[in-house]
Amino acid sequence: MAENKTQKHPISPDRQPDEMRDAFGKTLVDLGREFPSIVVLDADLNTSSKIVYFKKAFPDRFFQIGIAEQNLFGMAAGLALTGYIPFPSTFAAFVARRAADQIAISIAYPNLNVKIPGSYVGLPTSRAGASHNAIEDIAVMRALPNMKVADPGDNRDLAAIMRTAVNTPGPVYFRITRITLPDMFEAGHQFEWGKGVIVRSGSDVTLFGTGMMTSLCLRAADLLAQESISAEVVHLASIKPIDGDLITDSISRTGCGVTAENASVIGGFGDAVSQVVCSTFPAPLKRIGVQDKWVNSGGIDDLFTQHHMQPADIAEAAKNVIRQRKPFQIVAP
């Protein structure tokens, strides 16, 4: 996998300007220039999360809160209440685990205008191990009323999500993958809450991807094509609200689907898609993601293999659901 290059420079990740976290840091500066009310709060991770760019550009609007994530989100709530648009930034694992209560009651419950980036999501983080690999953040954040949740598929998607988030009143949680992702969208790409996009048309099975997994779904679709299976790939960056119409439209044409998320399948994106499919067009659906396991230290490629989240795993799941599909015939050779 292309992500391997993160492992080459574990000490100086700055050498990789195209990582999504870099795009995040730069987009934040762009938005900061445009929106003077944006303030950024850090919990001692600014060079990892890349909010260091904002710190350098707008030192008066950057606040170091120290290693105190509960206070990080509480103070963000207070800043929102005085008219600012705060971006309290830390690793996703600390967002959804350490500060879940503060985010729920101080931010989501009163519907405050706080934009929460979750850095280092899922498997491709560093080699820090299970304590730092956020796999439950989608489930936790989407369970909170008022909270919107998004997982971008590439850097342009991320920038579009951030812009839309700033223009949308209320709390938003969005995920930032640490690694470089292949470009999926053209310049000028727009993001809208509750709108997915078909990134590859097909007729035999739908691969529903969110975040970085959509690009793996595209690679799975290539593998399936070699076996004359036509896979549709639907990218759903907006996990909440989710594009129920598009999900139903696609699966009613293909008759079966696979979901793929860079997170635990419990309560996450796959469950969100399942909720739509179960109520509108019940059909076989398999969920690719972390299957109730902790994600320990390891090389990125190895971790994707270990957790059965490689393109080949997605393709295999697709063939399984095609076999389960009724009343259609199996398309595979």
Partner: protein
């Protein structure tokens, strides 16, 4: 801005503290849920804040230059709702919707009630939000507005409080005034028995705060402390007023009694409490005003 209260002021503030207690009993009885002990212990503090100290306008609850009160001990909501009603943010009749569907929320919900600055319930969170507000006001160079954060004593067992305390001192938030309702009792017993928080003043000092200690039921002392915190003490550090209070102050059976931390009186008990309050505060004896109205639920709540 003179902290010296006239005798009329004093009478008015005492009256408001009495009314806060009276209405709290009625709300908690009517809603069949609520915290009498923690509402009573901060009645004088709320009276002085809302009827003497805070720069607020019920007609403009979102006025930009207003002072803000964050009720971190959000279970004290009956006393705060009563105060907001007496001040004119909400109607007195609204109080009788406490804990009913569509009515006043059990713990605070700022989206639902004008005059509430935050939503709360889980303890230990309010000071962070208040510190964020104080920082935001400083950024706006709004020099006059102050942020007050009313905390419970057991609440400071939460680590989040000390994260907030540390950052408030770090950012020199001298527009932030904490008030500790030190009523000595938490939900299931005395604070000193369950988890000692002493030495309290020294803890706040060590975290870089100015400390003022007062009798939290003495209206003149409260007014003086708030005046000092607002006008004399601020020179780069946040200020905490440690208000020594009595949990359940005003009704003998509830004083220092953890069993009245969360407990809704039945109408007969509420009636006795209201009579006792009236005698203590030398007011005309009134019974529970809604005693003759049909009770909505079959049993009265006596637990958490």
């Amino acid at each position: 801005m003179n902290p010296k209260l006239s005798s009329d002021d004093l009478l008015n503030l005492e009256e408001m503290a009495y009314q806060i207690r009276r209405l709290s009993v009625e709300m908690i009885c009517y809603g069949q849920w609520g915290h009498i002990g923690g509402s009573f212990s901060m009645a004088e503090i709320l009276s002085v804040l809302y009827f003497q100290a805070l720069s607020i306008d019920p007609k403009r609850p979102k006025w930009e230059n207003r002072d803000r009160l964050v009720l971190s001990k959000a279970h004290g909501s009956p006393a705060l709702y009563a105060t907001l009603a007496l001040k004119g943010f909400i109607a007195i009749d609204d109080l009788y919707t406490y804990c009913e569907p569509g009515g006043l929320e059990g713990h605070t919900d700022m989206t639902h009630t004008p005059g509430l600055e935050t939503s709360g319930g889980p303890l230990g969170m309010g000071l962070s939000v208040a510190a964020g507000m104080a920082l935001g006001l400083k950024l706006r160079e709004n020099a006059r507005a102050r942020v007050f954060c009313l905390m419970g004593d057991g609440e400071i067992q939460e680590g989040n409080v000390w994260e907030a305390a540390m950052s408030a001192a770090h950012y020199h938030l001298d527009n932030l005034i904490g008030i500790l309702d030190y009523n000595k009792v938490m939900a299931k017993g005395r604070v000193s028995d369950l988890m000692q928080i002493e030495p309290v003043a020294e803890k706040w000092q060590a975290f870089g705060w100015e400390v003022i200690e007062i009798d939290g039921h003495d209206i003149e002392e409260i007014a003086q402390a708030i005046y000092e915190a607002r006008w004399i003490r601020p020179h780069g550090s946040p200020i905490i007023i440690i208000a020594h209070t009595v949990k359940g102050r005003g009704v003998e059976r509830a004083e220092f009694n953890y069993q009245w931390h969360t407990h809704a009186p039945d109408p007969q008990t509420a009636d006795q409490m209201l009579k006792e309050l009236a005698i203590t505060y030398k007011r005309p004896v009134q019974g529970y005003s809604r005693i003759n109205e049909p009770v909505k639920k079959e049993t009265f709540y006596g637990g958490e």
